[in-house]
Symmetry: C2
Subunit: 395 residues, 2 copies
C-alpha cells in the first residue's frame, strides 16, 4: 500500500512504534546475507545418488516429460513453485527504486510463502520496465513455475501486464498489490458492516487513491454488490466527464460515482459510511471523518503511516478503524490472502484466479471471525488454519 | 556431452550398468516431487520477525540498496545465487526436448551446486529459443543472480548467446557444456601426457565432434599450447577450404589442422597421440585406435554410451582411457569444475570467467592427482577439498 517514506515514522506518527524496525531489519539482513536458500531434497553422497538425482538416470525423467509435459507436476518442482516478480517500479511506498532495491521485499514475500504455505517462492527482479519487455520476460521464464505473483509494479502498466499474462499463460497470474489488498479489504468490510449494523450492499464507500490497490478494491467491492462507490485521486473526485481522465480512470468513472459528485475529498466523504485510504499519509483529516454518516468505518491503509492515525479517526467519530499496521487492531495485511490463494491454486492445478475466487476468499476470511467487534473485523495473520481455510475456496 | 539416447544402453553397451538408473530416477523424482526447495533462513513466528523480515523494516534495506546497489552482496541472496538456464534445445543426448523436459536436469545441476558448493542455484527453463529472445530474457532476470550458468543450449546458438551475455552483463556467464567440459578434459589430458610420457604441447590431438563441447575443448587445448589439433564433424575432417563450412566451423578450420589433412576419421586419427570423442556412440572404432601412435590416449565422452567402449579401446592399444561414466576409471565429469568455478566467482565478486581461469582450473584439477596412472588421470567427483581447490584459482 502506498506510503511516502518507510523510515520517517517519527515525524508524522503520534504513536511511534517503540522499536526501530528499519535498524533491526538492516542488521538481520546483513547477518542472513539474503533471506532465502535453495536446497536439494536429495543428497549426493553415493554413486547411486548421483546417477538418480542426475545423469544418467535423470535422462529417463526428461524423456518421459518430453512425451508427457503435464507430468511435470509429478516429477519436477514446477508444481509447488511461484515466481515473485517485480521490476521495482513501485516498491512499498518508496516508488521506482529499481530491481536490486526491490529484491529484499521479494525475498520477504517468498519467505512468507514458504513459512505460511510451504510454497517454494523465488524472487525474480526484472531489469526491464515496459509492458512488452516485462510480459516477454515473464512468459519466457514461465515453464519453471506453477504460478506467477506480480508485485510492486507501477500503475497503470501493472494492469496491462497482468491482463496480458493472464491471457497468454496457462498458469495463475496475480498482481498481489491489487487483488491481495482487495480481498482483505472486502473481508474486513463484510465484518465492519456487521459491527455497525448496516446493510453491506447499501454501504456508501469512498476510496481515496486511484492506483493499483484503489482500482482493484473498487472493482471487487462493485463485484461484491456495493453500488455506491466514489474514487478520488490527487485531483479530487473521479466522475464521468472529468476532462483529464484517460485509460483506466476513465473506465472507473463509468462504473462508480452514481450521483456524479464533483469536488474534493470532503465533498466525496460527506455522508459516506466507509472511507478506504489507499494513498498516502495525511490525505484523510478529522474533518473528513466528522463529515461521514454516523458509525463511520475508516480503513486507512497507507503503511507505515496511515492516511489518518486511528486515534484521530476515533476522536472524529469513526467506530471501526483498520490500518496496515500490526500495532493497531484490524491489520489489513495481504499475507492473509496470497499464501492461501497460491496454495489452493497450486494444489488443485487451477489455471486462473477468478473474481469468484476472490469473493470467496474474502467471505472465508471474514467468516474466520465468529463475532466481529470494532477491534476485530479481520483475523490476525498468525491465525491457526488460516492458509488452509483460504486455500479451500480456490477451486 | 552428446549421446544418442539415454535409456537405450542395453542394446549398444557391452558392459551394461547393473542398475536401471532410469527406473530408479523415475521413482526418486516422483517421490521428491521436484528436487529443490526454496526455504527461508528466518522464521516468521513473532511480530518482530514479520517486521524485520518484511514490512515495515525491509523498507530500510530497500532504501539503502536504492542508494548503494552494490551492497546487494551484503543484504540479499544475489551474492550466492546462480541461475541455471536452458531452453531445452540440446538436453543430455536427448536433443531438442523443450524447457519442461529439461527442468529435471537443471534441478539436478542446482542440487549439485548446493550439495557440493553451498550455492543457491535456481533452474530457469526458457520458452524462447532464438538468440535475441534468450539474451533478452536472461538480461531481464539477471538482477536476482550473482552468476549465470547456461546449460544444454544447442550449437551454434549457444556461442552467440554466451558471447552476447558476457559482453552485456557484469556478472559471470558460463556455458557449462562448453567450458566445464573443456576444463576437465584439459585436466585429464595434462595427467594423461605424464602417464604416457609425452610432451604435453607436442601432443597430436583429434577431436571427434564439432558441437559446443568439441569447439570449446579445441579452443582451450590451443590456449594450453597444443598446436596440432584436428577436428572432425559428421562429414569428416574440418580443414581450411572445405566448401560447406560456415560460421564457427570455418573459424575452427583456420586455427586447427596445420597439415590441412582431408578425409575421414581414420585419416584424422592416423598417428595421433590423443583422440577425444565428444560426439555419440560408435564414432570411434578399434581400427581407429589401432591407427594411432603408440601409447594412445582415448577420451570417449559420449554418455552413457561412449564413442568406443573402454574394453575395445584397450584391446586396440589405448593406454589411457577416459569416459563420461562413473563405472569406469577416469570419469570426465563437469561437476569437477563448475561448482568450484562458480563458488570462486561468487565469493570474490569476479565479473568474468576468463581463459586464464579455465587453464588454472584444469591445472589445479590435474594437480590433485599426485602420481597419475593410467587409471587415475582425473580426480573423482567426491574428492575431499575439490570445490575449495578449484575455487581458489578463480581470482
Amino acid at each position: 500500500m502506498p506510503q511516502k517514506k518507510v523510515v520517517a515514522t517519527k515525524k508524522v506518527s503520534k504513536k511511534t512504534p517503540k522499536k526501530d524496525y528499519g535498524k533491526m531489519a538492516m542488521a538481520l539482513h546483513k547477518k542472513l546475507k539474503g533471506k532465502l536458500e535453495v536446497v536439494s531434497k536429495g543428497r549426493l553422497l553415493t554413486r547411486d545418488d548421483w546417477s538418480t538425482m542426475y545423469s544418467p538416470g535423470v535422462g529417463a525423467v526428461s524423456s518421459h516429460l518430453a512425451k508427457h509435459p503435464k507430468d511435470a507436476r509429478e516429477y519436477t518442482m514446477k508444481r509447488n513453485s511461484v515466481a515473485v516478480i517485480s521490476d521495482g517500479s513501485a516498491v512499498l511506498g518508496l516508488g521506482n527504486i529499481g530491481p536490486i532495491a526491490a529484491l529484499p521485499v521479494m525475498e520477504g514475500k517468498c519467505a512468507i510463502l514458504k513459512e505460511m504455505a510451504n510454497i517454494d517462492g523465488f524472487p525474480i527482479v526484472l531489469d526491464v520496465h515496459d509492458v512488452e519487455g516485462i510480459v516477454s520476460a515473464v512468459k519466457a521464464i514461465a515453464p519453471t513455475f506453477g504460478a506467477i505473483n506480480l508485485e510492486d509494479i507501477a500503475a497503470p502498466l501493472c494492469f496491462e501486464i497482468e491482463e496480458r499474462l493472464k491471457a497468454e499463460l496457462s498458469i495463475p497470474v496475480m498482481h498481489d498489490d491489487q487483488h491481495g489488498t482487495a480481498m482483505v479489504v472486502l473481508a474486513g468490510l463484510i465484518n465492519a458492516a456487521k459491527v455497525v449494523k448496516k446493510e453491506f450492499t447499501s454501504l456508501k464507500v469512498v476510496v481515496i487513491g486511484a492506483g493499483a490497490a484503489g482500482r482493484a478494491v473498487t472493482l471487487l467491492l462493485l463485484k461484491a454488490g456495493i453500488s455506491n462507490i466514489i474514487v478520488t485521486d490527487s485531483k479530487g473526485i473521479i466522475y464521468k466527464g472529468r476532462k483529464d481522465l484517460a485509460g483506466y480512470k476513465k473506465k472507473l468513472a463509468e462504473t462508480t460515482n452514481p450521483e456524479t459528485r464533483q469536488g474534493d475529498v470532503l465533498t466525496a466523504v460527506t455522508g459516506a459510511d466507509v472511507v478506504i485510504g489507499v494513498s498516502g499519509p495525511g490525505t484523510i483529516a478529522k474533518v473528513h471523518v466528522a463529515a461521514m454518516a454516523p458509525k463511520a468505518v475508516v480503513f486507512a491503509l497507507a503503511n507505515p503511516v496511515p492516511e489518518i492515525m486511528p486515534e484521530d479517526a476515533k476522536q472524529a467519530g469513526a467506530v471501526v478503524i483498520a490500518t496496515g499496521r500490526s500495532d493497531y487492531p484490524n491489520q489489513i495485511n495481504n499475507s492473509l490472502a496470497f499464501p492461501g490463494v497460491f496454495k489452493g491454486a497450486l494444489d488443485r492445478g487451477v489455471n486462473h484466479i477468478t473474481d469468484e475466487m476472490k469473493l470467496a476468499v474474502a467471505k472465508k476470511l471474514a467468516g474466520l471471525i465468529k463475532k466481529p467487534t470494532a477491534d476485530m473485523v479481520i483475523p490476525p495473520v498468525m491465525t491457526p488454519g488460516l492458509v488452509k481455510a483460504v486455500a479451500s475456496v480456490i477451486k
